[in-house]
């Protein structure tokens, strides 16, 4: 589903001394099937932004369009339930949402609410638990007896079982061990391609953004700071540092290389192997000069 933001602003607790402008005049367009990374310093409005995608918050100003659903300031959103079925959101620390007596019921909770048939729920539950790489034996256990990492995976499975068209991920791997982080991200990437999902990923990891995303949106104090393909955005090391962000290691490396050797190797998304070859050529060229 296409996602469009038109001059979206959002204010928390308007007309009070605690009024806070969390988003300001944000506009962008995400074509269906994209993998978008939303990046920004802490408190820049990322979570606020993604809560617009399934109508949890309504814009104070402007309009959000997701597929055929439109959310406009001051208007009631129609078919909210249908929208929420199509847009699955994995929140920051989603393990806090577990509540059922066993894992199977918790994973099936979303589909059940959306009126999915029993056999279909069973099928989706198994599919989801496999996707998050947990053994099926866990289905009968209480979610509160699991480890933190396992709980996280169960919570993610609960969103996957809704079989959404748009998958919204708010720092889904925060606090996991490095291997778990990698596995989960690979899983989302695979699902994204297999099911032709539209994926919106909020992340603090530039490496993940570079590796998985085909579009990057950078937020700074509630405003859109930059937007584009990762390889276009991440070459702006100086600007990104100004808004307290890093750039991926590859680009840091290439920029350092340029300072040291005075040779510019432009980044255009090459793999490590390609890059190694290019570098070899550059270094050889230098030696040939001397």
């Amino acid at each position: 589903m296409d996602i469009t933001f038109q001059d979206v602003s959002y204010i928390y607790q308007p007309n009070s001394p605690f009024e806070f402008r969390a988003l300001e005049d944000i506009s962008f367009h995400i074509p269906s099937g994209s993998f978008v990374a939303v990046i920004g310093h802490t408190g820049s409005g990322k979570s606020t932004l993604i809560q617009h995608l399934n109508g949890l918050v309504r814009p104070t100003n402007g309009e959000v369009i997701v597929g055929s659903h439109s959310m406009k300031a001051g208007e009631k959103t129609k078919d909210l339930k249908d929208l929420r079925e199509k847009v699955g959101v994995v929140f920051q620390y989603p393990e806090h949402q577990l509540f059922e007596e066993n894992v199977e019921k918790d994973i099936g909770f979303g589909p059940l609410n959306f009126g999915v048939k029993e056999e279909e729920i069973k099928r989706r539950t198994r599919e989801a638990i496999q996707a998050v790489q947990l053994p099926e034996e866990l289905l009968d256990r209480s979610p509160f007896d699991l480890s933190g990492g396992q709980m996280r995976r169960v919570a993610i499975a609960g969103v996957l079982a809704m079989s959404p068209d748009v998958l919204v991920l708010d720092e889904p791997t925060a606090g996991l061990d490095p291997r778990g982080q990698r596995e989960i991200m690979e899983m989302f990437h695979r699902l994204h391609k297999e099911k032709r999902l539209t994926t919106v990923l909020v992340t603090h990891s530039m490496e993940d953004a570079l590796r998985y995303a085909d579009h990057v949106i950078i937020l700074n104090h509630g405003k859109k700071f930059m937007e584009g393909q990762p390889k276009e955005v991440f070459v702006n090391e100086k600007e990104l540092r100004e808004v307290q962000l890093d750039v991926p290691e590859v680009i840091q490396f290439l920029n350092k290389l340029e300072q040291r050797l005075g040779k510019k190797v432009p980044y255009h998304g090459q793999t490590i192997t390609q890059l190694a070859k290019e570098l070899a050529a550059v270094v050889k060229g230098r030696e040939a000069h001397e």
């Binding site: 809560q51 929420r84 929140f91 806090h96």
Partner: protein, 265 residues
Amino acid sequence: MSSNMIIGQYVPGNSVIHHLDPRTKITIIFFFVLIVFFANSVMSYGLLTVFSLGSALSTRIPVKYLVKGLTPVWFLILFTFILHLFVTKEGTVLFSILTLDVYSGGLIQGLSLSLRFFLLILVTSLLTLTTTPIAITDAIEDMLGPLKKFRFPVHELALMMSISLRFIPTLMQETEKISKAQASRGVDFKTGPIKDRVKAIVPLLVPLFVSAFKRAEELAMAMEARGYQGGEGRSKLRKLQISRLDIYSFIVFGLVIFGLFLTRS
């Protein structure tokens, strides 16, 4: 879950009232609540009104915010007024609506009672508006101090109060977060038949309880790990101190009381 209710809400600021010692504020408010019931003439009511409104304005909390925040209270005030208007049957008949006669006594009763009510709410909410919950707790602990002699667990009570106060916003945030997560999984908290809405509370309450207990356990452990032992011999990080401002405030308030008894009829 943006609520406009201001009772219990602290609004940071830099006014004189913000800087007063919390004990001063509690004492003055306590006596204000008492003397409001002594007012019985236009002048005396006027004096108390000027004092209350003046105090409220001096906090520099936006008037619009105060007015809106007292919305639920406005209804009560109006209700009090109307009730007295029609029920009290003293004095002369002023006019009648349908078959109900309105007496002059009713009008006066209605006006004075709803004004009293308004002044009480306004002044007491100034305490929480200008004082952090922690400062209020400190003040209460200090003021209840003498009760320690009778083995009344003053310190423990204050600690319980300050911990609860500290966790109210956290709990609110948590509630908001979990209800958003469950709403994303298709729970409908806002529409549908009552039966379904009651059922919708379970997926909200279970995670809330789980996290509240976890939090309590962690806090207890952290306190023990840092050697917490209770009130005996414990020093204070925030010291309460009476300043010149407090003395001036007591003088002003004393004058108000004096004025009140002069203007009473």
